[in-house]
């Protein structure tokens, strides 16, 4: 891959320069465009009926006074006003922002390091890979409880430090209003880094062996190869991992419920839990829908520049 630099323009764009080929190519182009569209039918049906349909339905419900069931009692933007006067919602947005940054950065760094280190032809690679991946396999209801115990000052790490003699050691983040969100970061990074590692490893394994040989012949130190060549080539993998992590951040729910129930008080409240609580427990789907739309709009605002930049460079291979 490193040896390829020229990116030819897609045939559609060159057809106009070669009229003869175009005459031959136009029916061809239609034929293969058609096959692609046919193949994409499941995606288009899903997008329209499942996703777009749900988004529009949610928007409609958010403009109404719906409780357990959607109602036709339209109240304009009342739900949105109520939403932004709701302290729990506002703090949940703050928390998810802090959490998101810490979680994504930590997972990308740790996942990348693990992938690179495992890629070094280590012994028992299969075992190591499974060790880093197994957290992802386990239901967070149980593992979240275990983390709650480990982080509890009287049951877990702090009491262990005290027993070992460090009587003034403090690790009671989980009961601290300001630090509890970081305990959620710890537990969820534990769960997700292995997956990031797998994604990066797939990318690393796709890198041509020739590259390593060439670098060794040139005498470049290994770490330099990584920094200047390999990591940039992992662009698509990083981008995939980033989106996976971003989705996990927005949907963060199980961990919070299992570890802190949003507490102490509302110190670890997150948007997905807010939405769930109002959707099911509090029987107010109007408010929950408004919150979902706000969340979706925020995600769109963050992703849109990213996607726009990508589509601008559509004529080149996206990285």
């Amino acid at each position: 891959m490193g040896t390829l630099k020229s990116h030819a323009l897609p045939p559609e764009m060159t057809a106009s320069r070669r009229p003869v080929a175009a005459r031959r190519g136009r029916p061809l182009r239609k034929r293969w465009s058609l096959a692609a569209w046919v193949a994409l039918i499941p995606m288009m049906v899903t997008v329209v009926f499942a996703y777009l349909g749900t988004m529009l339905w949610t928007a409609r419900v958010s403009l109404s006074n719906s409780r357990t069931f959607p109602s036709n009692d339209f109240v304009g933007f009342t739900q949105y006003v109520r939403l932004f006067h709701n302290d729990r919602w506002l703090v949940s947005l703050q928390h998810i922002a802090v959490y998101g940054v810490c979680f994504i950065v930590a997972c990308l760094v740790i996942g990348m390091l693990l992938a690179i280190f495992i890629d070094q032809r280590v012994m028992a690679e299969g075992v190591l890979r499974t060790v880093f991946l197994y957290p992802y396999a386990m239901s967070f209801v149980a593992t979240g409880l275990v983390w709650q115990w480990i982080l509890n000052p009287e049951l877990g790490a702090q009491s262990l430090l005290h027993k070992m003699g460090f009587t003034h050691a403090r690790f009671d983040w989980i009961v601290d209003q300001d630090f509890v969100i970081y305990t959620i970061v710890i537990a969820t990074v534990w769960q997700a880094s292995g997956l990031v590692m797998a994604v990066m490893l797939a990318g690393l394994r796709g890198i041509d062996d020739e590259l390593w040989k060439a670098a060794r012949i040139d005498g470049i130190p290994r770490w330099r190869v990584y920094m200047s060549i390999v990591i940039p080539m992992l662009g698509p993998s990083v981008s995939t991992a980033f989106v996976l992590l971003f989705v996990a951040v927005v949907k963060l729910f199980d961990a919070v419920v299992a570890m802190t129930q949003g507490g102490p008080g509302t110190a670890s409240e997150v948007p997905a839990k807010f939405i769930m609580d109002y959707l099911f427990g509090r029987a107010n789907i109007g408010l929950a829908s408004a919150a979902s739309i706000v969340l979706l709009a925020t995600v769109l605002a963050i992703l849109a520049p990213f996607l726009y930049a990508r589509s601008r460079s559509a004529s080149r291979k996206e990285v």
């Binding site: 357990t68 729990r88 000052p153 509890v180 129930q261 029987a283």
Partner: protein, 414 residues
Amino acid sequence: MNSRKQWALKSGIALALAITGVIAQAEPLKANVIHWWTSGGESAAIRQFADAYNQAGGQWVDNAVAGADQARATAINRIVGGDPPTAAQFNTSKQFHDLIDQGLLNNVDTVATKENWAAIFPQSILESIKVNGHYYAAPVDIHMPAWFFYSKPVFAKAGIAGDPKSFDEFVGDLDKLKKAGVIPLALGGQPWQEKITFDAVFADVGGPDLYLKVYRDRDQNAVKSDAFKKVLASFKKLHDYVDAGSPGRNWNDATALVISGKAGVQIMGDWAKGEFSAAKQAPGKDFGCFPGFGPRSPYLVAGDVFVFPKTDNATAIKAQNLLATVMTSPQAQVAFSAKKGSIPIRPDVDVNQLDICAKEGIAIMKDKSRQLPNPEMLLSPDMQGALTDVITNFWNKNQSVDDAQKAFASALKG
């Protein structure tokens, strides 16, 4: 020819007899029941209902879903999707009133009239299940969410003689426990547990009148009164007696503290007795229980009901009526309560099988003036949630009593 005709006639008669014989034998009335009772103790309890139902000619098909919110959501989605269960569990509350408004529930008026529910059930429960003049739910138990459980050995060690007779005496006992080196109050710092603790203090310190003015009448003046301020202050005072590891703790882990003698008291519903008996501790011997302070303390009434999703299928309706009858029958009620830790919904039952805490509860229930409906019965789930948010904020942050009072008033306005 003749013999063949005879043979055909004979086999035809035999076939006809066989078919009618099959039809005459009653088909068991199949009932798909959604509920959230999945633990060992709860399973033993609901088995009493299932067995009674099966004996009465039904066939109980169990659809247990852990987690009350998920169970209710599953029931609602199945109803909407066209695959409704025969019966679904809800709390004695306003949770199922939206279903009634949408016309998604069958009523059980025939059973209610036949079994004379109006005369047997407590008033607070009747008000929850009877909507627009029709009975839409079958109540199956009464739980009291604010019992005080304490470890007898720990109380003895701290030099506490008996049950406290007032809130101030209770606080004094908590001080004694603190001096004895144990955690005075075992609390799981989750919003719903904090709300239970608050409601216990509210009922005891504020009194039934204030309680009803606030929760039932949503009277803003009552909330802004000094009496309510005192309730909030008393509630916050308990925070001094809770250990540092309390936030986030599950309620069973808090009970475990009392069981193992690390803590003195826990304020929790009578379902906590299940944890004690799982640890082989007996009420009256290893742990004590009292529902409030003094001989006139209010008794909060909460519980569970089963609703019956709308269907026009005659067999399903028969099954629903049979379920409603069986679950509220005296024998099934006693058998269920003994396993569940709750008290029966009807007073005309033989209570000897029940433990002493339940017996005390039943005796109190006979006095109508001491019954107080749980906030869930009086408020919509949304408002109950909003008030829980206010309480948990007040408990966990350094908020002043005045600010908490204002927040409570504003949440109550809706």
